[in-house]
């Protein structure tokens, strides 16, 4: 078994007075794909923001290779190797596509390989190469999502956090997305993914956590979850 890369212990978090996460615990092993599923408003995005450092937990610890990183800011966590592909894209609308990618490799680890890496991204998403000079804010919804994904990869992460990466993508790109996730994981990158496309997610995930109302209600390896009747009913539905 590989070592635990990321661990959340009894994390409680929220916005102002509103508590969203209630003592969440979960961990991601080095090199694995961990899926986080749950219905709308369950707290998945909130969890991801806690891990990325955009939100400070009110309680509990976030550990990276065993060391507590609660106090680190988001940018410092990027230097550790945590990279978030946020929900709702959060790209830089006034930057060109190329600038968006470049700044993705802002951290010192990634900076030296920036140009090579950017070309790789253009290889993965030819549309981005076509539009390298276009302002990101004018790109179509799906194109922006691709850009967000590519920008996340530019950081050469050790831990890649994907928050609904398939949002707004056409089916052909979605398949490509899952292929990319698979490739990235094979390169040794640990992945935590939040997805509504549960079917495909369960296929590539090693371990699954189900979040409901800010609490983990089910967790287990992907195989057993795929067979879990509750999950089947709630998330696999008629597909």
């Amino acid at each position: 078994m590989s070592a635990t890369l990321l661990e959340l212990r009894a994390v409680t978090a929220g916005y102002g007075d509103v508590v969203v996460l209630h003592e969440i615990s979960f961990s991601a092993r080095e090199g694995s794909v961990t899926a986080l599923i749950g219905s709308n408003g369950a707290g998945k995005t909130t969890t991801m923001r806690c891990v990325a450092g955009l939100l400070r937990p009110d309680n509990g610890t976030i550990a990276w290779r065993g060391g507590v990183i609660n106090a680190l800011s988001a940018s410092e966590r990027v230097e550790l190797g945590i990279s978030l592909v946020p929900e709702g894209r959060l790209i830089f609308p006034d930057f060109t596509v190329e600038e968006n990618l470049s700044i993705g490799a802002f951290n010192p680890r990634a900076k030296p390989n920036r140009n090579r890496r950017r070309d790789e991204m253009y290889g993965l998403f030819p549309r981005l190469r076509e539009r390298r000079g276009q302002h990101a804010g004018t790109m179509s919804g799906g194109e922006q999502q691709m850009l967000a994904l590519a920008r996340g990869l530019m950081a050469e992460p050790k831990l890649l956090l994907l928050d609904e990466p398939s949002l707004g993508l056409a089916p052909s790109i979605i398949s490509q997305l899952f292929d990319i996730v698979d490739t990235v994981r094979r390169m040794g990158v640990t992945i935590v993914i939040v997805e509504q496309n549960v079917h495909r997610t369960l296929q590539i995930a090693d371990y699954v956590y189900v979040l409901e109302n800010g609490q983990i209600v089910i967790h287990g390896d992907a195989q057993s979850c795929a067979e879990n009747p509750n999950i089947k009913q709630a998330y696999l539905g008629l597909y």
Binding site: L167, Q196, Y235
Partner: protein, 241 residues
């Protein structure tokens, strides 16, 4: 025909996002628009709603051209859109978001008090009643999409343009949402044009679907016909399924 899109082309400094696209939507229909990313779907919505001007071509609503009208005029004629990349009024509550549409949309209500009441009813309808008095910026992405629908409904449209409002839902939630759309379609006697990548939903809701690729229309027809069309399959799904 409530809406006629007639040989519409849109260029953005050289890039043709939409090229000579035509289609018409019969009154009361639910019309689907699908296509790969960047195919031009949202651009078409923007042109219908007046947020962008077509480079050439004409768009007619209820038989008369709406070319060159400002967005607010078009809204008052009875066309409402949602934004794919949502843009609610962040510091207003959900109720105020919708009430604003009630006051200024095609309904042109003049009383703020009444508008707030109507807004409450609409929020109820789209299942946002519990967050009616939350500021919009506090909502999750999915709820914001729903707020977009509520705000569009608040404008009392005849034609509703829905841009990927089902994205980000779990399969169960998609089911519920499809029912919801059916319900509002009936309840408000709307014509709906919807862009969606969740095919299953389009199949179940639409009477007719147009498919775009690289700015051009490559197919149009019933959901079954379209999804079986090899051109569509190649352009949209990439590898055959």
């Amino acid at each position: 025909m409530i809406l006629e899109v007639d040989h519409v082309t849109k260029r953005f400094n050289g890039v043709a996002a939409v090229r000579g696209v035509s289609f018409s939507v019969p009154e009361g229909a639910i019309f689907g628009l699908m296509g790969a990313n960047g195919a031009g779907k949202t651009t078409i919505f923007s042109m219908i709603a007046g947020n962008e001007q077509p480079t050439s071509g004409d768009i007619r609503f209820q038989g008369s051209s709406i070319q060159g009208l400002r967005p607010w005029r078009i809204s008052r004629l009875g066309i409402a859109r949602t934004f794919q990349i949502v843009r609610p009024f962040p510091a207003l509550t959900c109720r105020e978001n919708v009430a604003l549409a009630v006051l200024y949309g095609a309904g042109q209500d003049s009383s703020p008090a009444r508008a707030m009441r109507v807004a409450g009813e609409i929020l109820n309808e789209v299942k946002l009643a519990t967050v009616a008095d939350e500021e919009a910026r506090r909502l999750t992405l999915v709820s914001r999409k729903r707020l977009e629908i509520a705000r569009a409904l608040g404008a009392r449209p005849k034609l509703l343009l829905l841009d990927e409002v089902l994205a980000g839902l779990t399969p169960m939630e998609v089911e519920a949402a499809v029912e919801l759309l059916r319900h509002i379609h009936r309840r408000y006697q709307l014509t709906i044009v919807m862009v969606e990548h969740v095919l299953r939903a389009l199949m179940r809701l639409c009477t007719e679907i147009a498919v775009l690729d690289h700015g051009e229309k490559i197919a149009e027809g019933s959901p079954q016909a379209v999804s079986a069309d090899p051109v569509v399959v190649k352009a949209y799904f990439g590898a055959p399924q």
